[in-house]
């Protein structure tokens, strides 16, 4: 790998590790310092490697430079010099205190603890996602801005406020206690799934960036699986769910970058390896007695990897949605449930149920009604597709509705 590829690659994988370890060491009070030292390390690497070439072990080199920079910082730090240094001068503790532990174990622990801190319920969901992308995933500000269709200034402000909040709330970088872990884990999973959805459903046209968001969500979830205290059935279920969805990444966008609806997708483009992985994780999730919303969603997502339009498929999907909605209502689940109902019990029953939903500011509600009336009352179908068209926010959604009207 050449330097111009090597450094961005290492930045993506190592920046977040260095930040997590330093931040864990310094506390959130000095999160900017941790970020500065990590950034500075890469600047030094760029300058040095350009002239001398990359060292044989670039990662170890980066860790060494980061350690030295952190030590220099600690030495310069006045609090350290005036209050701590005199007491421990000459003792071996001085060396211990200065030591920055970049061992694989400490990197992994620091990152997981950071994940719990960043996904703290005191922070708004946007702040959690922004911080996750920056600190846990090592995304640049411009990448985050693009993912959110925003600008650098807005993202910088949002991150600044989020960091202020971390300090105000005195959030510590540590594992939650055993009594808290279930509840806090729930929050972490929500953020990971939001991150995934941000990539999967994003309006951003940048395919690579969108796929990166999804892969990062998978990576964070895998980190939870690799740790004993967070390796729980609902975590496996979320991982399975994301694998099943991600399997359609190639198939759901055509060459022009336009969205291809499920019915029109070529199953030949579905990633069988990811479906297989998902099935394996789903099996790992099937222990214990708790059935989380991720189990139910993973079950639905599994049936969606089966292209054959069988009654069995739709009956199963319907029952999974019935249960999911009892656990947690969402408009999209209500709409999908009603679509499954039409497939399992027939359009007549589904129309009655759909009319009761009254989600009149939701374009997909009218798209569903249009779909249900098509072939039964085409005039009503047309009216509903037109309503969906007028509510649609993107050109692609409008085009999809126009196509439906043309087909009637």
């Amino acid at each position: 790998m050449k330097n111009q590829e090597l450094i961005p690659h290492l930045f993506r994988t190592e920046y977040r590790k260095i930040v997590a370890v330093l931040c864990k060491r310094f506390g959130f009070d000095q999160i900017e310092t941790a970020e500065d030292i990590a950034s500075d390390t890469f600047l030094t690497a760029t300058q040095t490697w350009t002239y001398k070439g990359a060292p044989p072990n670039p990662t170890a080199w980066l860790y060494n430079v980061a350690k030295n920079k952190a030590k220099n910082y600690l030495v310069r730090n006045s609090t350290f010099e005036t209050k701590i240094a005199p007491q421990i001068a000459g003792s071996s503790e001085a060396d211990d205190l200065m030591e920055i532990d970049l061992s694989p174990q400490n990197i992994s622990d620091s990152q997981l603890q950071m994940m719990f801190a960043v996904c703290h319920p005191a922070l708004s969901p946007e702040a959690q996602i922004g911080l996750s992308l920056r600190i846990l995933c090592g995304f640049g500000i411009d990448e985050i801005a693009e993912a959110f269709l925003s600008n650098k200034e807005t993202i910088n402000k949002r991150l600044y406020r989020a960091k202020e909040k971390l300090r105000e709330e005195k959030i510590k970088i540590e594992f939650p206690g055993p009594s808290e872990i279930e509840e806090r884990l729930e929050n972490v999973l929500t953020t990971i799934y939001l991150l995934f959805s941000e990539g999967y459903y994003s309006v951003s046209q940048n395919q690579t960036l969108r796929q990166d968001l999804c892969l990062e969500a998978l990576r964070l979830c895998t980190m939870l699986i690799e740790n004993k205290s967070t390796c729980k059935p609902q975590v496996y279920a979320l991982l399975a769910l994301m694998c099943f969805h991600a399997s359609r990444f190639e198939a759901r966008v055509n060459k022009n970058g336009e969205l291809v609806l499920y019915d029109d997708q070529d199953p030949g483009l579905w990633n069988m390896e990811l479906i297989g992985k998902g099935a394996y994780y789903f099996k790992c999730a099937s222990v214990g007695t708790e059935l989380s919303k991720y189990h139910l969603q993973a079950g639905i997502a599994w049936w969606n990897t089966q292209k054959a339009d069988t009654r069995e498929k739709w009956e199963n999907i319907l029952q999974l949605y019935n249960r999911l909605l009892q656990l947690e209502y969402s408009p999209i689940a209500a709409l999908n449930r009603t679509y499954a109902l039409s497939k399992a019990n027939g359009k007549a029953e589904a129309i009655i149920e759909a009319e009761k939903l009254k989600l009149i500011d939701n374009q997909f509600y009218f798209a569903l009604l249009g779909e249900l009336y098509a072939g039964i009352d085409n005039e009503k179908a047309k009216q509903n597709f037109e309503e969906a068209f007028s509510l649609a926010k993107t050109q692609a959604d409008k085009q999809a509705m126009q196509n439906k009207i043309n087909k009637l």
């Binding site: 029952q319 909605l325 009892q326 449930r337």
Partner: protein, 117 residues
């Protein structure tokens, strides 16, 4: 918005359904509940099992299963959110229990903790 209990009352609880009937009935019940949940009006559901059911009588006599002179029994209840008792009754109309002749649904507003009864 208030919460209402929709109580499924079977006229004759000693009737035993075949496994096929049970399966059809279970699906219909799940679809009914799913439809209420899809309107964001579902709160909770409680099914009542007959295994080991007991009745404690006035004289403290305990008998197995609720059936003796009175065969009517409660199969379970769900709790929904509704603007009015009328809306709650509309939800109750969809319950598959009503397909059994003589069965009824009882609709009762749930007392809030702060206003007593």
């Amino acid at each position: 918005m208030d919460e209402y209990a929709l109580i499924m009352r079977h006229e004759d609880g000693s009737k035993i359904a075949s496994p096929e009937q049970m399966e059809i009935w279970m699906k219909a019940t799940m679809d009914w509940i799913g439809g209420i949940a899809a309107q964001n009006k579902f709160v909770s559901g409680t099914g009542l099992l007959f295994d080991d059911a007991k009745v404690v009588h006035h004289n403290k006599l305990v008998t197995n299963r609720p059936f003796g002179e009175i065969k009517e029994t409660i199969g379970g209840f769900i709790t929904v959110k509704a603007e009015s008792a009328e809306e709650a009754a509309e939800f109750a109309k969809g319950c598959p229990v009503l397909q059994g002749e003589g069965n009824t649904m009882e609709v009762r507003r749930i007392a809030k903790r702060d206003n007593g009864h």
